[in-house]
């Protein structure tokens, strides 16, 4: 979709060009018509003067040279005449040896070209009747200087018009930019929102944008609120179910069931299934997924806490390293990512001999996360099986299975990929690839 700015510019340019050209053309035409009329009246007067100059001399009708303008005698002066009467045709001396054709009809004619200089003539033919004799007088005037002036005027007008167009466009750009500034600000704020730098849009916006911004803010607040509420509710549900389960598990392994070990074993098995199913489903339901646009995970802030927590759980003998660029922020919900990394690292810590390493890298279209351990690893042909075991709820086992099941749930919710490889230390590497989300 084109930007509003360029649409407005395009519309304005087209409109200005069409209207400007139309106006210029019409005014030029009107001006030319007026000029013709003015010149016509001059020519008519000239023809009447010539008529007056026709006098009765000794040899019949003669042209009284004293009564005609000197311009008719100067060669190619731009003023010509031709008088046709009684089968005779007189031409002005100014025509020299060229012929001024007699227009077919009376009235004004233009566009006649004449002489070596290519003069454009405006010709007026007037028919008179004098003493019973038809006299047709054609008077012509060179129109070239006027036409040249006219053209110059046209060019100057065109230049001025273009200049005005450019100025109008610049002004329009400025005005549009000014009036669209709130839109631009909202756009920037949405970008910040997606980078996790803010949680709400500024509500100080023009009234046109107000409903939009208010609606976005409302949606953001609503999403965050409902996520928090559902997590809270899930937490409560978990609490309500898990404490009795803990009691039952404790009962199942108590002294009172020592008499019937089979019953105890069955009880424990069933309870374990409930427990695993419950924690997997609760974890899955807790996922924020893509719901929050502003979610982000600041590695520098969150990773030290996570790693020291793991260090505390798994004892001091284990070295947990991290290899992540400084200042890296991942665009996913903090709790989801902590759950993902926590499970990956916890698994690695369980199997590692002495060292676990978390690596995070950013590539142009995805984020790569991997967790290495120096434990026994998994043979290449068994790796797929481990991943699939994690996928099926009823086949979960503790250890790699359950933890990886939760990891898979999270990664799938983000449209990512998990695979198992061999780590440089000879143990297992769990490699996770998470595609970037649009706009991040």
């Amino acid at each position: 979709m084109k930007s509003i700015q360029s649409r407005l510019s395009l519309g304005l340019v087209v409109m200005l060009v069409v209207v400007g050209l139309g106006l210029a053309q019409v005014s030029l035409w009107l001006f030319e018509v007026g000029l013709h009329r003015y010149l016509e009246s001059g020519l008519r007067k000239e023809s009447e003067n010539l008529l007056m100059a026709l006098v009765q001399g000794q040899n019949g009708v003669e042209l009284d040279q004293r009564r005609i303008s000197a311009a008719y005698n100067r060669q190619f002066s731009g003023y010509y005449f031709r008088i046709d009467f009684d089968g005779k045709s007189w031409r002005s001396r100014s025509l020299w040896d060229t012929e001024l054709p007699r227009p077919e009809t009376a009235g004004l004619h233009d566009g006649l070209e004449l002489g070596p200089e290519g003069q454009q003539l405006l010709v007026l033919r007037a028919d008179y009747r004098r003493q019973g004799q038809a006299i047709s007088i054609s008077v012509a005037q060179d129109y070239t200087p006027m036409r040249d002036g006219f053209r110059r005027m046209q060019q100057v007008g065109l230049g001025l018009g273009l200049l005005a167009l450019v100025m109008v466009l610049i002004l329009q750009r400025l005005i549009v930019k000014r009036s669209l500034r709130p839109l631009e600000r909202s756009r920037e704020q949405i970008a910040q929102l997606q980078q996790g730098k803010r949680t709400q849009l500024d509500s100080e916006v023009p009234s046109e944008l107000e409903p939009l911004v208010a609606q976005i803010n409302h949606l953001l607040a609503h999403t965050e609120d409902s996520l928090r509420r559902s997590r809270n509710a899930l937490g409560n549900l978990g609490h309500a179910l898990k404490t009795p389960l803990a009691v039952l598990l404790s009962l199942a392994s108590s002294e009172r069931l020592r008499e019937s070990p089979e019953l105890a074993a069955q009880l424990r098995e069933q309870l374990e299934q409930i427990q695993q199913r419950l924690s997997r489903e609760l974890n899955r339901a807790r996922l924020a997924g893509d719901a929050l646009p502003g979610a982000h995970f600041d590695c520098d802030v969150e990773l030290p806490g996570l790693l020291s927590t793991l260090g505390m759980i798994h004892g001091d003998g284990l070295l947990i390293r991290r290899d992540a660029p400084v200042g890296l922020s991942l665009p996913w919900d903090r709790e989801d990512l902590l759950e993902l990394l926590g499970n990956l690292l916890d698994n690695a810590c369980k199997w590692a001999d002495s060292e676990v390493c978390l690596g995070i890298r950013q590539t142009p279209d995805s984020y790569l996360l991997w967790v290495d351990d120096d434990g026994p690893g998994i043979p290449a042909d068994a790796r797929q099986g481990v991943l699939e075991r994690g996928a099926r709820l009823d086949e979960q086992v503790a250890g790699h299975g359950l933890g990886l099941g939760i990891v898979r749930d999270i990664v799938e919710a983000w449209h990512g990929r998990v695979d198992l490889r061999e780590s440089p230390q000879g143990g297992l590497r769990v490699h996770v690839e998470l595609p970037r989300r649009a706009g991040r």
């Binding site: 609490h239 404790s250 499970n343």
Partner: protein, 222 residues
Amino acid sequence: MRLLLVEDNVSLADELTASLQRLGYAVDWLADGRDAVYQGASEPYDLIVLDLGLPGIPGLEVLQQWRAGGLVTPVLILTARGSWADRIEGLKAGADDYLSKPFHPEELQLRIQALLRRARGLANQPTLDAAGLQLDEGRQCVSREGEDVQLTAAEFRLLRYFMLHPQQILSKSHLAEHLYNGETERDSNVLEVHVNHLRRKLGRSVIETHRGQGYRFGGALP
């Protein structure tokens, strides 16, 4: 070893108290956060098991108040909120370990055992070694030079405390405080009897008497 269990679910608390007592721990049980803040800081517990969803004051706040007050007793958090975000929060508040419900009773027992040893700066091995003795806490028996010696529950409790605090002079009242919970009547004569039983089974030199001060375990041995 004396533990404080702060848990508001009565059935779970009953089960845990019973199983922990079977393992030779003296257990005090509280269900309210406000009581826990006071009693946790005033009684000499060796370890505290703390549930987070408590009436009165939330468990996390109880822990923060303890730590702010300078309490260094190891705390194991027991909670149904098992997410990693919650765990990190708990450990940041000053917990030493985190166990999410539901759990296997054995796992809790192993965590408690490991925490108690860690608090004494000891490695987490299958047996507790001190002064040439190996104590198997699971079987509640001690072996000396490869030879198993059976112990009564009371002897096991006493020996374990000694072995976790070797070379230290421990007064009778100190021992009584850490071996019996708040409801047991403390009789120092009973302690003397148990010490004598231990000496008879493991040799006189294992526990020295420092007149007027108390007992010292493993003092004569390197």
